[in-house]
Amino acid sequence: MSCVVRAERLSKSYGSLRAVRDISFAINEGECFGFLGHNGAGKSTTLKMIYGLSTVDQGGLWLFDQKITLTPPSLKARLGVVPQEDNLDPDLTVLENLTVFGALFGLSSQEGKARATEYLQFWGLDDKVNVSPDELSGGLKRRLVIARALMNRPRLLILDEPTTGLDPQARHLVWQKLRLLKSEGISLVLTTHYMEEARQLCDRLVIMEAGQILAEGSPEQLVQEHVLPYVIEVHLPQSQVPAAVVDQVRAYGGQVETVADSLFFFAHDGNDLWSRLESWGLPPKVCHLRSAHLEDVYLKLTGTTSEEEKR
């Protein structure tokens, strides 16, 4: 299978700060690949090296099988870029934002206009053609940025937090459209803070922290590999939980995680563990049983220490 992006021991420093440290990953043609991580984990830095706003410090980065230190124009022509912060052109109308950008790729004004109209329709912006982007809501701005990134019909669409700040409806709409693009064969790489987004969109993802990759796999794989299938959340401050319970859960064969003063008990058989809690002095009404999901993996891998301590 061919890779659209491959990184080997890739590193990037800002002065003495090592923003990305020795990360390796490969993004396959046609897949959606995600980067999940805290603020400052190094997600944007990694993407910027791919789309040409940052140079590679150390290690190797291949884009469409070509080794790069700074993405050349010929490769940028095959990328679509949605940066973390909207950088629409306020001096231009919604339509012109697309056509002027399309012209950078050598689209004739006719072609540009046709494509722009197509994407404005696709993203539900067709009634905003002649307004200034300043007048758009956050959600519509974001959609316009994505539409702009599609003007050159990219093979790889790079999305840095595509839905941060959007309401749930808007977010679902963006997901729906991105899945449609993927079904047309466009490869996607995105960063996100939303587990739901990663689960909905990503075939594979990596969890990053302090510039490093902690885990890699499909959402299901990550859940299987890193946590037991059931979780009981304890909705009590730790000080009010009988001290012996934690040891009893461990002795039983369960796992205990603490996230921000809340206890999580993981088990192979959730119902069985649940039935024992009361006898260990933990009232069921303060507990919640559910199956484990990606967020549990994320919190387990990243939640225990703060960013500063790790660096």
């Binding site: 040409g52 940052s54 124009p73 940028k76 940066p83 950088n87 629409l88 950078l104 990134a149």
Partner: protein, 251 residues
């Protein structure tokens, strides 16, 4: 080499839309200087180097307003694109390099220089202050100072930490060029060292060419020297902003 042109099309799209308001605004100040100095001071200064004072300063006002047009575009204008609107970041997502962006800025500043120079030229022609049809060559000539002043300004823009720094550029740098560029009085009245220093003042070269053409008395070899000055100056100024802007845009 088509990329800078593609970027320039963005700037021109916006320029064409705001052309009239832009022109009115830019026309007002030089017109003020021309009338205040030309009529006001001209009433006392009967003659300057054998011509009326108004005729003396009019071509200089063309050259200086052309300088200001390029300068403002590539300081405040460029900085807004660079810093506030992140236009350059957005453009860099396309198949272009930082070099293309700088060339497009310089071309845009040059176009504004030529356009506003031509507008003021038209004004002084209507006021009867142009003697020769050789003045029609002035807009063509302004391409060179246009590129030079744009590149100089955009180099400073690459270094400016915030927009307040352009006050320094204008008052400490461009205004002295304006006052001691031979627009209002001949530099021959100044001490010899100051005259020597004036050779480094780009505006003085532009003023001399514009005046010679407007009066229809060009000494072609001298004009050639001034043209060469701008050619070499612009060539030397091309690399620094590309380098500096790359450092600023790409980490």
């Amino acid at each position: 080499m088509i990329e800078p042109w593609r970027i320039l099309r963005r700037h021109l799209t916006i320029f064409s839309r705001t052309f009239w308001t832009n022109t009115m605004f830019n026309f007002f100040e030089p017109f003020l200087y021309l009338t205040a100095m030309g009529y006001g001071l001209g009433a006392f200064v009967q003659e300057m180097e054998g011509i009326s004072y108004m005729e003396y300063i009019a071509p200089g006002i063309v050259a200086s307003s052309a300088m200001f047009a390029a300068t403002f575009e590539c300081t405040y204008g460029s900085f807004v694109r660079l810093h506030y609107q992140k236009t350059f970041h957005a453009i860099l997502a396309g198949p272009v390099t930082v070099r293309d962006i700088i060339i497009a800025e310089a071309l845009f500043g040059m176009i504004k220089c030529v356009v506003f120079g031509a507008v003021i030229l038209l004004v002084i022609a209507v006021m009867g202050q142009v003697r020769s049809s050789l003045a029609l060559l002035i807009p063509l000539f302004l391409i060179l100072p246009g590129l030079f002043f744009s590149l100089m300004a955009v180099t400073y823009t690459c270094l400016a930490p915030n927009i307040d720094y352009f006050n320094y550029y204008i008052t400490l740098f461009v205004t002295p060029l304006y006052l001691f560029g031979g627009v209002f009085f001949p530099l021959t009245g100044m001490p010899v060292w100051a005259q020597k220093l004036a050779w480094f003042n780009p505006l003085s070269h532009s003023v001399e060419v514009c005046r010679a053409l407007a009066l229809g008395q060009p000494a072609w070899p001298t004009i050639g020297e001034h043209v060469l000055w701008f050619f070499i100056g612009s060539a030397l100024l091309l690399a620094p902003p590309i380098h500096l802007m790359r450092r600023r845009l790409i980490q």
